[in-house]
Amino acid sequence: MSDIKKSGVSRRGLLKAGAVGGLVAATPSIFIKNAWAEEFRNNPENSGELKLGFNVPQSGPYADEGADELRAYKLAVKHLNGEGDGGMLNTFKPSMLTGNGVLGKKVTYSTGDTQTKSDAARASAKRMIEKDGVLMVTGGSSSGVAVAVQSLCQEQGIIFMAGLTHSNDTTGKDKRRYGFRHFFNAYMSGAALAPVLNKEYGSDRRAYHLTADYTWGWTQEESIKNSTEALGWETVNAVKTPVGAGDFSQYITPVLNSGADVLILNHYGKDMINSLSQAVQFGLRDKQVNGKNFEIVVPLFSRLMAQGAGDAIKGILGTTNWNWSLQDEGSKAFVQSFGAEYGAPPSMAAHTCYVQTLLYANACEMAGTFYPPEVIKQLEGFNFDGMGNGPTLYRAEDHQCFKDVLVVRGNDNPSSQFDLLKVVDVTPRAQVEYDWTIFGGELGPYEVKM
């Protein structure tokens, strides 16, 4: 732990720091050594290794998801360093990655716990940046954390490759030049879900929303509302529920006699598991309303959530970023090497984290330097394939990846303990694209003053 390589302290800052503290002597002279040499923060040129910061929830409700993300990161590091079977390195196109580290430097990492709290996540990211000297931070399992860490990274001049974050804001209102999101967003969920909902449930439906009362919930509600109303659905009501409510009965019972025939649960994680299990207990799925079967839709799904909800998830429609049962070459290679390493299939969070790491590494190779502005320019507008989602574009204007979106259904008759979601439809990329200006926000500068 005596890693005292101090970085990111400019000479000017130091002198004044001394003046402010009135104690120049108290500032160890060891800081000053590196301060001259670097033209950008945490330049790995001197150290011979590229250090990445994996900032994932290790405690709190998303700890399992975080653990899976961490597994994926470790796997990615292995593959980048030429260990293991290479995974998606073999299918990723166009790729300059050779399994020889990045730009000849061995990839190492540092981990931290976001606790799924903005403050803790930023503190953890700062530790990685200030103490461990990481050049890129990645991970996370909620939008609040992603937005918070992303803006921190912008200030610090460190690239942030978001993990699981689904809010439109991450690459909309709160987008940043240094932040990139491979995961899809609420808008895309809505756009992808709409045609399937139309096909399955028809265009004459009355929807009732229960929405987690915070920013992600609202953007998702809005996106789903827009796309279902475009189908001709009517929105009966949209009710906000407190985060972590636990027992949702008082929100579910009014649905019973509201005249709605579809319940849309804009919840994630534990909230979704609870509200869905309870809605099923209240017999919503056995109901007939307006002569139609009552349906429940959960726009954002993950396998871990499906596990928590148990039987309640069976037959429920939703979207997901990726699923291990996909049969394209990239997915197969990834599942193969992940499964061989850990004995279980990767979650969608693990997938996005793995892909993000590879994308960053590749951009460095393409730029021929670790200098962040150059790396960013390589990622912006980057077209790639072979990463499990078909041809994908990292849109330059908002740093959002555009790719096909999976519509899935909870598996009625799973063939194994992991076989919980069944891909119903793949909504092609063209249908989920949108004009980047609709969410506002601005990316900010490439160069960050230090």
């Binding site: 530790r127 918070a148 003053k449």
Partner: protein, 385 residues
């Protein structure tokens, strides 16, 4: 804490030692991996928070479970000051302290009508209401879950008066007359404030006012029948303590201009309670030690993954490493909470009175030439509720 018998010189000495120790943190924390700006800042800031909490809890025995509300309000006020007025940190700090003080006056006025656990639950309820509202309904003011952040388009009225108003391509950073308040300068800024806060706290402990607060803790009835109106004393202590929390909150925003609702959650209130008890409630430096220990665990222990462990134990034979790393791994990295929980239990079981009591015992042990002395009554009472 029999303060009447201590000469003033002693106190000046205490402050000087304290100041030296705080300002030299970058040096002596370096070997244990605690030397980087963010953690140093957190030590100083949560030190202020805990010292302030101790003025209420340590002196009067009133256990507030809602102090995070003041921390949060301090942060929001500071960020709004950055957004609306200026990036200079001084107004932000002033507003943070001011708003926290106002909120503390309101909450304190109502909550102090009750004592004991009823008081604790009242403060908890107020803080939880603040948190829940900030998280959802008050989003226009607090920006909800995402947290209140700066934007390039913020008005910053005062800044635009004195300069051309252009802030360059990126977000402006907080400053103290030109000196950026992130990194080490930010730490020194916080450290100086911490030292001032410590001095104020020491003066309160040593003042007639402090004696009155201790009297309230000891016997509220006697205070009343002695002709003292305990309510204004309590309220003042509550407000001072709330302002400390507000200062800490505003400093969180100064070093990192973002304010999130979770700062007001009960877990944050509980954290400062734990810090204070862990270090030693009612002692001068105890709360600061408790704050440092908890923050160190949260930031450093949580980062020890298999990688780090394997390196740390690389002096051992491989076969031993394979065994040791997973076992130790249970207690660090993602298991850091477990260690923290165990630490709470061990300290409170074996060291009633917290860390400070531990040091006292060590000192006593050496003074008495190796013979363990029965624990002094005086020391025991500092731990009191």
């Amino acid at each position: 804490m029999t303060n009447t018998k201590k000469p003033l010189l002693n106190d000046a000495f205490v402050v000087i030692i304290f100041a030296a120790a705080i300002l030299a943190m970058p040096i002596w924390l370096d070997p244990i991996g605690g030397n980087y700006p963010d953690l140093l800042q957190k030590f100083a800031i949560y030190g202020i928070f805990a010292i302030g909490f101790n003025i209420l809890f340590g002196l009067t025995g009133y256990l507030s479970f809602g102090h995070a509300a003041f921390l949060g309000v301090g942060s929001y006020a500071a960020v709004w000051s950055f957004k609306l007025l200026t990036m200079n940190v001084l107004p932000a700090v002033v507003f943070g302290v001011l708003f926290a003080g106002i909120l503390a006056a309101i909450i304190g006025f109502l909550s102090l009508r009750r004592t004991g656990i009823y008081f604790s639950i009242l403060t908890l309820a107020f803080a939880q209401m603040s948190y829940n509202l900030a998280y959802s309904v008050l989003t226009p003011i607090t920006n909800g879950e995402t947290g209140l952040q700066l934007a390039r388009s913020d008005p910053r009225i005062l800044d635009s008066l004195f300069s051309d108003g252009s802030v360059g391509a990126g977000l402006p950073s907080t400053d103290l007359f030109g000196e950026t308040m992130s990194g080490y300068p930010g730490f020194y800024f916080c450290a100086v404030l911490l030292i001032i806060c410590f001095y104020i706290s020491l003066r309160i402990f040593r003042s007639p006012f402090g004696l009155m607060l201790k009297g309230i803790k000891s016997n509220q009835n006697r205070m009343k029948y002695t002709g003292l109106n305990t309510r204004p004393y309590m309220l003042t202590a509550f407000i001072i303590s709330g302002m400390y929390a507000g200062l800490a909150g505003s400093l969180l925003a100064v070093t990192d201009p973002l304010a999130g609702a979770e700062r007001m959650q009960w877990t944050a209130s509980g954290e400062v309670v734990l810090m204070t008890i862990l270090g030693g409630a009612g002692t001068l430096v105890g709360p600061m030690l408790g704050a440092g220990l908890i923050k160190y665990f949260e930031n450093i222990f949580s980062s020890f993954d298999d990688n780090v462990l394997t390196q740390a134990f690389s002096f051992l034979p491989d076969s031993v490493v394979e065994f040791v790393v997973p076992v130790v791994g249970l207690f660090v990295g993602s298991g850091w909470h477990l260690t923290l929980g165990l630490l709470f239990m061990i300290i409170v079981i074996f060291l009633p009175g917290g860390l400070v009591e531990g040091f006292r015992r060590i000192v006593n042990y050496f003074r008495s030439g190796g013979k363990t002395k029965p624990q002094s009554v005086e020391a025991h009472n500092q731990a009191g509720e």
